[in-house]
Subunit: 224 residues, 2 copies
DNA sequence: GCATAATTCGTCCTTTTGGACGATTGGAAA
DNA sequence: TTTCCAATCGTCCAAAAGGACGAATTATGC
C-alpha cells in the first residue's frame, strides 16, 4: 500500500457516521495520488488507503472496511470488474464506484452487473467525484443520463431473463432433477435416451437461466 | 443378444411368481450356452437371455426385468463388478450372482461391496447353481463358508469404514460444507487458504468415506 | 404464416475434476 | 518409542464438464 492516510481518528476529522471512508484502486500513479489527495483533503472524507492492483485490493480492502471503493475498470492482470465481483460477493455492504476514461457502455454494464453502484469518468471534476462517492455511500447510483437510459433498457432484458428462470422447460426440468440425484451427463443421457450432446445443450440452457456455472451450483440452487 | 428363450409364457412354464427369471452375462461361449441350457431346462427357471458384454447387459437387462443376473466377474472392457455397480444403482431389486473361476477374495469382496448378492465358482455343479440362483431371488447370499468367514471379517472393516463415514475429519467437513455451497476446488482452496492439491486430496478422502465418485454425489449425500 | 421456443445433435477447445500414486510434517495413541 | 492418522503438497494421466459456436426439426403462440 503506497499511501495510507491514517487508521486512527485525526483531529478535526473523526471517524463518525458523517465521515465517508474511501479506498482508491488505480494503477496510474498520477491519477491515484490526485484522487487520494482530493479525498483526503475534503471535509468529511477520509482516504483509508490506495492500491495499484486488484489482487492487493481484494486481500486488504475487507480489513479496512471502507464505505466506498473507487476502482479503475482497467487494471493490470485481474480487471477492476473481476475485482468488484469478488469484493461484492464477500462484502456486499461496500459501495464500488468504477473509474473509466471513456464512455465504454459494455464494460460499464458489466461492472454494474457484478455489483458496482455507479461509475465516474476520469475527466470528472473534483466536486463531481466527491458527490458521486457520497451518492454511493448513501445507496445512490451515480451515472450519466445516457448510461442510465441504457441501464434501464438492460433491466428489461434482465427482467425477461429472470422470468425465464422460473420457466425451465420440461426437458430441462427433467435434467435438473437427474442432476440433483448426482448423475453424470453420461448417466443422464442413458436414462433419458438422448445423446450426450443434447444433455449438455440442455445443461447450458439451465446454467444460463439459473445464472450458475457448474452442476454443483445448479444442484444447490435446485435444493434451495 | 444371442439366446432369448422367450418373452411370453410358455406352456407348462408360466411366468408366475414361482418362476425364477434369469439373465446370463458371460463372454465365454461354452459356459454361457451351458448355463443358459441348464437354466432353461430346469423346472421353474427361465433364461430371459444372455449377453457377452457388460455394456450390452447394462443396456438391455433393465427392459427384461429378470429376478437374477448371473454375471461373470471378469468381462472384456467393462468388468462384471462395474456392471454390477451400475445395474444395482438403477435396479436394486435385481439380484446379482457373480461367476468366478477361482476363489479370488479381493474381487469377490469388491463385487459384494457394489451390490452383488453372492457368487458362484464356475466349477460348481448344476444343483448348486440352481440353488444359488434361487437363494438370491429369495434374498439369500450364496457363498462358500470360507468366503463367508472372510466377508464377516470384512464387515468389521466395513463397519469401521462406515463409522469413518460419520467421522469426516475437521478439514474434510469444512470442505464438504464448501462443496455443498457450489464452490469449485479453486474457490475452496482460496477460501481455506490451502493449495489446490490439498483440496483435492481431502476430496479424495471424502469420496472414499462417502462411497461416491463425484462432487455432485457428495453434495446429494450431504444434503440427505 | 411467421416469429419464438424447445428439442435434438454436433464440433472445437479449455478448464475442471477424479484416480492413482508418493511424500512430508506434526501430533496423538498404543 | 513406535505407529498411526490428519493435514499438507505434489506429479501424471484420463475422464468429465463447460464455453462458444452452428444447425436442424418440431411445436406453439400471435
Amino acid at each position: 500500500m503506497e499511501h495510507v492516510v491514517d487508521f486512527l481518528p485525526v483531529v478535526g476529522k473523526h471517524a463518525d457516521t458523517s465521515m465517508t471512508s474511501v479506498i482508491v484502486v488505480e494503477d496510474d500513479r498520477l491519477l491515484r495520488q490526485s484522487l487520494a489527495r482530493l479525498i483526503g483533503e475534503a471535509r468529511s472524507y477520509r482516504c483509508l488507503g490506495t492500491f495499484t492492483t486488484a489482487e492487493e485490493a481484494l486481500e486488504k480492502v475487507p480489513g479496512l472496511r471502507p464505505d466506498v471503493v473507487v476502482m479503475d475498470i482497467n487494471l493490470p492482470k485481474m480487471s477492476g470488474i473481476d475485482c468488484t465481483r469478488q469484493l461484492k460477493l464477500a462484502h456486499p455492504e461496500i459501495g464500488v464506484l468504477m473509474l473509466t476514461v471513456y464512455d465504454d457502455s459494455e464494460r460499464i454494464f458489466e461492472a454494474l452487473r457484478v455489483g458496482a453502484s455507479g461509475y465516474l469518468l476520469k475527466r470528472s471534476v473534483a466536486t463531481e467525484i466527491l458527490q458521486a462517492i457520497q451518492d454511493v455511500k448513501e445507496g445512490g447510483a451515480p451515472m450519466s443520463s445516457q448510461v442510465a437510459r441504457k441501464v434501464v433498457a438492460s433491466f428489461r432484458v434482465a427482467a425477461k431473463a429472470d422470468a425465464e428462470n422460473a420457466t425451465l422447460s420440461e426437458r430441462e426440468t427433467e435434467i435438473l432433477a437427474h442432476l440433483s440425484k448426482g448423475y453424470s451427463n453420461k448417466e443422464i443421457s442413458e436414462r433419458m435416451c438422448i445423446s450426450l450432446s443434447t444433455v449438455r445443450t440442455h445443461l447450458r440452457h439451465i446454467y444460463e437461466k439459473l445464472h450458475v456455472r457448474s452442476r454443483a451450483e445448479a444442484i444447490v440452487r435446485f435444493r434451495h
